[in-house]
Symmetry: C2
Subunit: 264 residues, 2 copies
Amino acid sequence: MSRNVRTLLCDGPGMQYRTDTCFMNTLTRKERERAAREADLLDRAYALVCEHGLVSLQMSHLAAAGEVAMGTLYSHFSSKEDLLLALSVRSSAYRLEQMRKAVAWDECSRMRMLATAMADWLFMDQHPHYAQIDQYAISEVVWNRASEARRVEFARSREPIGALIHDVVRDARACGDLQEKYFTVEETPFGLWTMLIGTNLLTHASGLLEHFQIEKPYQLMVRHLTVWLNGLQWQPLMAPDDKALTELLCTRLQTEVFSRENDE
Amino acid sequence: MSRNVRTLLCDGPGMQYRTDTCFMNTLTRKERERAAREADLLDRAYALVCEHGLVSLQMSHLAAAGEVAMGTLYSHFSSKEDLLLALSVRSSAYRLEQMRKAVAWDECSRMRMLATAMADWLFMDQHPHYAQIDQYAISEVVWNRASEARRVEFARSREPIGALIHDVVRDARACGDLQEKYFTVEETPFGLWTMLIGTNLLTHASGLLEHFQIEKPYQLMVRHLTVWLNGLQWQPLMAPDDKALTELLCTRLQTEVFSRENDE
DNA sequence: GCGAAAAAGTGAATATGATTCAGAAACTGA
DNA sequence: TCAGTTTCTGAATCATATTCACTTTTTCGC
């Protein structure tokens, strides 16, 4: 009978051991242990990626590193792709942390919006392997081979980040910095989001941007974001050619907001 | 002695049979036949992708379909990833064709700029498999496993598209539609480029955008491009909430520019 | 044309590495 | 304690990319 409920709920790895107790928001000891092991496996997987590169990540290596059998590994992750997306989910927390600092900045809404983009950039700069994993995991081929449950988990894991940014939009509207109502609150950050992802993708295709005479893609992106913010009439308007401003912004963000001390 | 020259030039598949005759821009019969076979293999590979999906594309299937041995296949493509990037190179010609129509539109420079983005969108709509291949091929993992020669070939193959867009920027500057000189001609389209790529990536991660209450990503992108163009002060300015305009634009483009007859 | 050397092509064998599953071990509750 | 159940195990399987020893074809000096 408990069996039946469990079966109904199970539609993928990571869900496998969830029972009705979930509804009470309490995890059994077993469930906690299992979650802990999954987290541990992900940590080790990330360490392997850092050490040998994403391409060399092998399920058998991870099993060895995590001191579990292949079968156990596969009880957590339905496939290698599922593991990659799980890694990406794991990165959400770090991104969120960074993002929180950005939006908490004691500055006007526009600066805070820009800071969210820079938070992402800084994150990718500090964690190039996560940048690579995130990028790869979201590509159609990998995405579709991950489990449905993991895809949902991924979307959920990014929700808080979305919420944070939506709040900035709402603040901007509330204080009059952002008059326009062309977009819903949810639609507004789309331009920023796509530029971030596109820049990341292009940046990592080594040699491609150089071929098109583009030197510092992230700096350039910030300038294009400035253009975009101006297009939204997000006050106060700024000149996108002001490279000094961009750099000052970078510097201030790093010192005032992200306190670069915590390099790992 | 000819051997030596050849050896020096050979640094990857696809280059393997290039000799000094290249410098005279004449291909020997052999070289032409080889090029023809490579093209044929790519056609068949694309057909296989269309029929069974990118994930199911197998080198052995392609060898069978192209009636060549595995070894021969590998004399053309150094790896599966190299083949994928070659497929992406192949798509450049089709993209270019579409793009040419867009920039030849009898409209103001701003509309033509927007039309280039729509050309890309339409291309991806008409050739979803190319959209998927292009996206995957440019991802760091695949990109780095393709041969250096192929990566260069890819960059070169996109050059004409870049040139076309740069011309639109130059035209806009010449006729006064685009006053600003914040960006070099090459830097100007970066915002558009990244939005296109980002939108494409997000769109194909099924379920993700829906999760964030984003309905029609490409329409939304066009509106964000309008914002961006406004930010550049690219005349004539337009209201990005004018969905009717966006749709009219789509319709006009499809009828006047891309003559949807040529659906394959 | 002839025949040896070089080039191109072949596909079975190899190599890699993801995934499975039959059985062993651990745990549970009476 | 023990039967039933869950969980873990890792060698075996399977899927495929890649290679390479060998065959066929082409080239080219005579």
